[in-house]
């Protein structure tokens, strides 16, 4: 059981190739991290897996526990168990956070079956407490007027509520101060489970001090150029990406 990416190629709508053959296997129970410089295609990889229509997949496959996902729409992929925590979450004016998450949960239920409101709020409040989010965030419009850190915390809240099989966190650490980073990491670590695979996309090693990955991959120019254990992140931190590119292409 895994989220498996095989020789994935993708372009922008104008034909510019961003992903140039990415192969990666994220089995259940494991946390993988992808690091890499700006423009290496990390975020694109996450968006292509989630089904963003701004990209064209030109070759390769992605399977979720063996099932091909490219025939599925974005919302179907989400309901099938893929979760993307956005680097830049959208604001949804006029829609309260509680109603938004409820709508997302409702979308997973068969027609005619309604969410148990009491159980829902109990669960929501428990998760918010863990993320040290004030209760007022239930009534506030989704991400509207939220600080960068609040938005990221809100992404983790949604992830915890939706309990996906595979989580992709796109630069969840960017824009977070150290306290917020610790809280977000606490939420992510609480989600670690033998039944769940995770992919952390990050620019910095710092996040990995708090969420220990099982595997670290380095992406450059649309490919995974190196894979290793957690120590790879420290090497990167020490020597920088240039060193790695040289090592990879030497």
């Amino acid at each position: 059981m895994s989220l498996h990416i095989q020789d994935l190629h993708a372009t922008l709508e104008d034909g510019t190739e961003i992903l140039k053959g990415v192969t990666l296997d994220i089995p259940q129970g494991e946390v993988h991290a992808i690091m890499g410089p700006n423009g290496s295609g990390k975020s694109t990889l996450s968006k292509v897996i989630a089904g963003n229509e701004g990209y064209v997949v030109t070759a390769g496959t992605v399977t979720l526990d063996g099932a091909e996902i490219f025939g599925m729409s974005t919302d179907e992929r989400s309901r099938a168990g893929i979760f993307l925590a956005f680097q830049y979450p959208s604001e949804v004016p006029g829609v309260s956070n509680a109603n938004f998450i409820r709508a997302a949960l409702q979308a997973r239920l068969p027609k005619g079956v309604d969410i148990d409101a009491v159980a829902y709020y109990k669960n929501l409040y428990a998760k918010m407490d863990l993320l040290e989010m004030d209760r007022k965030f239930t009534a506030r419009a989704v991400n509207e007027g939220f600080s960068g850190g609040e938005k990221k915390r809100n992404e983790i809240l949604q992830m915890m509520m939706l309990e996906p099989k595979y989580c992709i966190l796109d630069e969840t650490d960017s824009g977070l101060d150290i306290d917020a980073l610790k809280i977000v990491a606490k939420g992510v670590n609480a989600m670690r489970s033998p039944e769940r695979g995770m992919l952390l996309i990050t620019h910095y090693q710092r996040l990995l001090d708090y969420i220990k990955p099982d595997h670290v991959h380095v992406m450059a120019e649309g490919r995974i150029v190196r894979s290793g254990g957690p120590e790879l992140a420290h090497e990167l931190e020490k020597y920088g990406y240039d060193f790695l590119k040289e090592a990879a292409f030497a």
Binding site: R79, S90, V92, A107
Partner: protein
């Protein structure tokens, strides 16, 4: 109906009969709106042909009982009135002393002088003077609300106006006067007894907020889609008063709203709010006027339209600051959310400032939902139709929330949700 003078019932006071007679003459003398009139720019003037529509015939007791039972609104009200074709069908009230809340037909007899002092005192200047005259000449009932000084009403007065029968014309009227330091909220709900009978409503609501009072008014227009409506809203605010006027349009084939706020007292405030959700071939034509007569007053207008299918909206708004109305704060915003490629939103914001030291802004935007927004919702498992609906609903919620009363907001959202449920949202 528009060719013979209406008969003022003999029971009504002489001043009223004279006003109605004079209004009829004015109606006849006032030319019909024509192409080229600025106040009717972009309007569909064909909608103004009301030939063949007549005052409502009596409804049977069974029909009336049915409509009374369908007059659902807030769970709790302090008073509730149901009018069917301008005839009072039901009333109930728990209003305290110090409040006069009576059908206009009754108030004209029992409180003639008080009604005379407040009845249609402002000049209709946003284009529908002819129809205001017709209304004045024809009005036979409605609600008269007078809140005495220092009386604060907790809760809401709810008024239902039904059109029953085919080719029926009604003239709903709501006149609200608040005394010093008083408070009240009134909701008018306009509906049709069935979905297929054409009707016309020429409605007038007149709000006069006394010193330091708070007057909230909501009009929910949910007629069937073969009915046309002209709704004229006149508001005046005395010193330190606050008036909120909210108009929801979900029904009617064509609706014209004219809303004028006169800020007559220093420190007074007028919030002019509207949500419209037109679909199919519906047309909503809204004209507004924020008239700053006094210095140091505040007005804030927020109109939002979510347009589906081939629907059309017109917004024309003017902030007008009189010569001595210094230290005015006036804001005007109209936002259009275009939910189809074939809808049409026209906006004409305007500003005329004749005083110094004023803060005024006006703006209008039209946009579609961004792909990134939809992607975000879909990435949470929400299907594209629900995602668009959630965003469009949220767009309206931002205005509704300004009312600051949970029960009222919930009621308005019920009407909005009901409208969404009757829109074919598969159109991208």
């Amino acid at each position: 109906m528009t060719t013979t003078a209406p008969q003022t019932p003999a029971i009504f006071p002489a001043w009223f009969a004279a006003r109605q007679h004079e209004a009829w003459e004015r109606y006849l003398a006032t030319p019909a709106p024509k192409r080229g009139d600025e106040t009717w720019r972009f309007s569909n003037l064909k909608q103004l042909d009301f030939a063949g529509f007549v005052r409502g015939a009596d409804v049977s007791p069974t029909q009336a009982a049915d409509l009374i039972s369908r007059s659902s609104g807030l769970e709790n009200t302090v008073a509730k009135f149901v009018f069917v074709n301008d005839e009072l069908a039901h009333s109930e009230s728990k209003l305290p002393k110090g409040v006069i809340c009576l059908p206009l037909a009754e108030a004209l007899v029992s409180h003639s002088d008080l009604v005379a002092a407040h009845f249609m005192q402002q000049e209709t200047r946003l284009g529908s003077a002819k129809f205001a005259a017709l209304h004045e000449a024809s009005v036979s009932n409605g609600l008269f609300i007078h809140i005495g000084d220092n009386v604060e009403i907790e809760g809401t007065i709810e008024v239902h106006h039904w059109i029953s029968g085919s080719n029926v014309l009604i003239f709903p009227h709501t006149l609200v006067v608040t005394g010093k330091n008083s408070k009240v909220r009134v909701i008018d709900i306009f509906r049709s007894a069935d979905d297929i009978s054409p009707g016309v409503a020429i409605a007038f609501n007149d709000l006069s907020a006394g010193p330091n009072s708070q007057l909230d008014y909501v009009a929910i227009q949910a007629f069937n889609e073969v009915t046309r409506v002209i709704q004229i809203n006149e508001t005046s605010t005395a010193r330190d008063s606050s008036a909120k006027g909210f108009v929801l349009n979900t029904g009617a084939s064509w609706a014209r709203n004219e809303s004028l706020s006169r800020l007559e007292g220093a420190g007074s405030r007028s919030d002019m709010l509207s949500v419209s959700v037109p679909a199919r071939e519906q047309e909503y034509d809204q004209r507004t006027f924020q008239h700053h007569v006094s210095e140091g007053a505040y007005s804030d207008l927020l109109y939002k339209n979510s347009l589906y299918d081939n629907s059309k909206t017109i917004f024309s708004g003017l902030i007008f600051v009189d010569r001595n109305a210094h230290h005015t704060d006036a804001y005007q915003t109209c936002r259009n959310l275009l939910m189809s490629d074939t809808c049409e939103a026209n906006s004409m914001p305007g500003l005329e400032i004749n005083a110094d030291q004023v803060k005024c802004s006006h703006g209008s935007t039209s946009s579609q939902i961004h792909d990134e927004e939809i992607f975000y919702l879909r990435a949470r498992g929400i299907d594209p139709v629900s995602a668009r609906q959630l965003i469009a609903r949220g767009f309206s919620v931002q205005v509704v929330e300004r009312l600051g009363d949970d029960a009222t907001e919930e009621l308005i959202l019920q009407f909005i949700d009901d409208k969404f449920a009757h829109i074919d949202t598969t159109d991208p």
